[in-house]
């Protein structure tokens, strides 16, 4: 509790709250921190430093495999810089969504890095880790009781979905971080977490109003992205009694009323509402006023505590092994005929394979035509060249590669009426053009689960280093 008690006596007096400085070191720790702006941030003597480390954005493979998006070298270097800065000032350091997915293997490897760093740098502090893995039995039970509902276009969750999932995590909110802070943690490494909770938990304990606190948290978690020009530099949020002030730690980045207001749009479905496990942030009545050319003061956001606690749960399910074929064509007749050539080759290959080897899926991206966007209509003029990426997923890599290799050969030599280039339909940038691309996963769970209590789901473990 030491940081909480000290900050209470430092910042709160006679019912008034003094400005609380909160430093966001990074919105994606592990990919390199701009060092000048980080140093500038620590020079401002923040009361808290936070960093987000994870997301669902990079897709289900990280959650599924338990691996990190950033390199281990990059992750450790970034964590080390934030750790040194926070220990020099003796302020809490909070990292959310450890190791990209925020599941146990990623939390463990991130915590191991912190222990190594403590040894290497001769630092001593209290480390808290918070797990975010959701036991399957508990999620299944919630499904049976009708306490799980889909988000967006997801289908309703079934017990079979839960049983077949490889990993399930839940997004913790401020409550979990507050338990870690109450346990006297200097450094908190959390599994999957709401990015806002990293920054909102401590001011919430000190009594800063939750509307502006949560609004500030939502903005600073992306570091200097809310500025013009936006960037990855550290961002300082200063909570005041009734609002907050934003300032980038890179002097070239300006937080203007327009740029800050526009940030509410970023990666949000509805720009006016942010749902958290313990309430809803609404920014409909927020005011954005310039302090000077580089700083903006924000006030007016409201916070409505939830009557029912909810947790967003995320699950990844293995679909098989992935092998991809990389090739291209510059032949106008092949390009024109792709709609029929590719399905004909696929039918042909499947007819030749033994029955036990046809259990695979193939997805074709035709770059130049519709590789990026599923356009409702084809282009009016066909491009001169088309790159083809064929993605095969099968129960084993051997099966995926077999399908890939046979398809390559028959696509290369497929005959069709009007064919000009009878020596081959494809250009390969290198050989072999079949590339083993690891295990394929899908997000099988992206749902909201009603829970009676948040605390039992996110256990805090404390150790003194």
């Amino acid at each position: 509790m030491k940081h909480v008690e000290r900050l209470k006596s430092d910042l709160i007096a006679g019912g008034k709250r003094a400005p609380m400085r909160i430093l966001s070191a990074s919105g994606q720790i592990g990919y390199g921190l701009p060092l000048d702006s980080l140093a500038q941030g620590f020079a401002r003597k923040p009361h808290l430093v936070g960093a987000d480390m994870g997301s669902v954005d990079p897709g289900p493979a990280y959650l599924g495999t338990g691996t990190m998006g950033p390199s281990l070298t990059g992750a450790k270097a970034d964590l080390g810089r934030v750790l040194e800065g926070s220990r020099a000032l003796d302020i809490p350091m909070i990292v959310g969504s450890a190791g990209t997915g925020g599941a146990k293997p990623q939390l463990d490897s991130t915590a191991a890095m912190i222990r190594e760093l403590a040894r290497e740098k001769g630092l001593h502090f209290r480390l808290a880790t918070i797990a975010a893995d959701m036991p399957k039995s508990m999620v299944s039970d919630a499904v049976r009781r009708g306490r799980v509902r889909p988000i967006g276009g997801m289908t309703p969750l079934t017990e079979a979905d839960v049983a077949s999932a490889d990993v399930i995590v839940g997004q913790m909110g401020s409550e979990a971080f507050q338990r870690a802070l109450a346990a006297g943690a200097d450094v908190i490494i959390a599994g999957r977490a709401c990015d806002t909770a990293i920054y909102a938990a401590l001011p919430g304990m000190l009594g800063y109003p939750m509307g502006p606190t949560m609004h500030m948290a939502k903005i600073v978690e992306c570091a200097s992205l809310c500025c013009v020009p936006g960037g990855r530099d550290a961002m300082l949020g200063t909570l005041e009694d009734e609002g907050f002030v934003l300032e980038s730690m890179n002097p070239e980045r300006r937080a203007t009323p327009m740029s800050v207001a526009a940030h509410s749009l970023y990666e949000q479905d509805n720009p006016y509402e942010v749902f958290e496990p313990d309430g809803v942030l609404r920014v409909n009545d927020a005011n954005y006023v310039a302090v000077d050319a580089r700083r903006t003061r924000v006030s007016g956001a409201t916070w409505t505590p939830a009557r029912q606690h909810t947790v967003k749960i995320e699950g990844a399910t293995r679909l098989g092994e992935r092998c991809v074929l990389l090739c291209a064509t510059a032949d106008p007749r092949v390009i024109e005929g792709l709609d029929t050539i590719v399905p004909a080759v696929d039918r042909n290959v499947r007819s030749m394979l033994p029955p036990e080897a046809v259990d695979y899926t193939v997805h074709v991206r035709r770059y130049g035509i519709d590789g990026v966007i599923d356009w409702p209509t084809p282009p009016t003029v066909m491009p001169r060249e088309v790159f083809l990426l064929l993605e095969f997923v099968a129960p084993t890599m051997a099966m995926a590669k077999t399908a890939c290799t046979m398809t390559k050969q028959y696509l290369l030599h497929h005959g069709f009426p009007g064919r000009l280039s009878t020596s081959g339909n494809l250009a390969f940038p290198f050989t072999p053009p079949e590339v083993e691309a690891g295990t394929a996963f899908r997000f099988s769970i992206y749902h909201i689960m009603d829970v009676a209590a948040l605390a039992p789901l996110f256990p805090v473990t404390v150790e003194d280093l």
Binding site: L265, Q268, P271, I373, D374, P376
Partner: protein, 100 residues
């Protein structure tokens, strides 16, 4: 007038793995007002443009930043085999040529 000629920013990005979100930002209130009243940015028009059911489309005016938010339920959950754009950052193309 085409959207690409009046908008300052036209961007797309996932809002979670099941939603594509689009931000249209304008230089000033006049351009924003011109765009927000256009039938070409109605729920029905956006649904046709992206080939999805209108029930899967939402459009929010956001005048404080002279911006319009569009959200569409993704046809393929981000990162599932067959997805073409895991981050959803390149799905704005169909919007560019909209005639307001």
């Amino acid at each position: 007038m085409k959207l690409i000629d009046v908008a300052r920013v036209i961007r797309s990005k996932n809002a979670g793995p099941v939603t594509l979100s689009f931000d249209l930002m304008f230089e000033d209130e006049a351009h924003y007002r011109h765009a927000i009243q256009s039938p070409a940015l109605s729920v029905g028009a956006i649904a046709r443009l992206y080939g999805v059911d209108p029930q899967r489309v939402r459009v929010y005016p956001y005048p404080v930043a002279f911006a319009i938010k569009i959200a569409i339920d993704r046809k393929v959950v981000a990162g599932t085999p067959g997805d073409r754009d895991v981050y959803g950052a390149q799905q704005h193309g169909p919007l560019l040529e909209i005639e307001l």
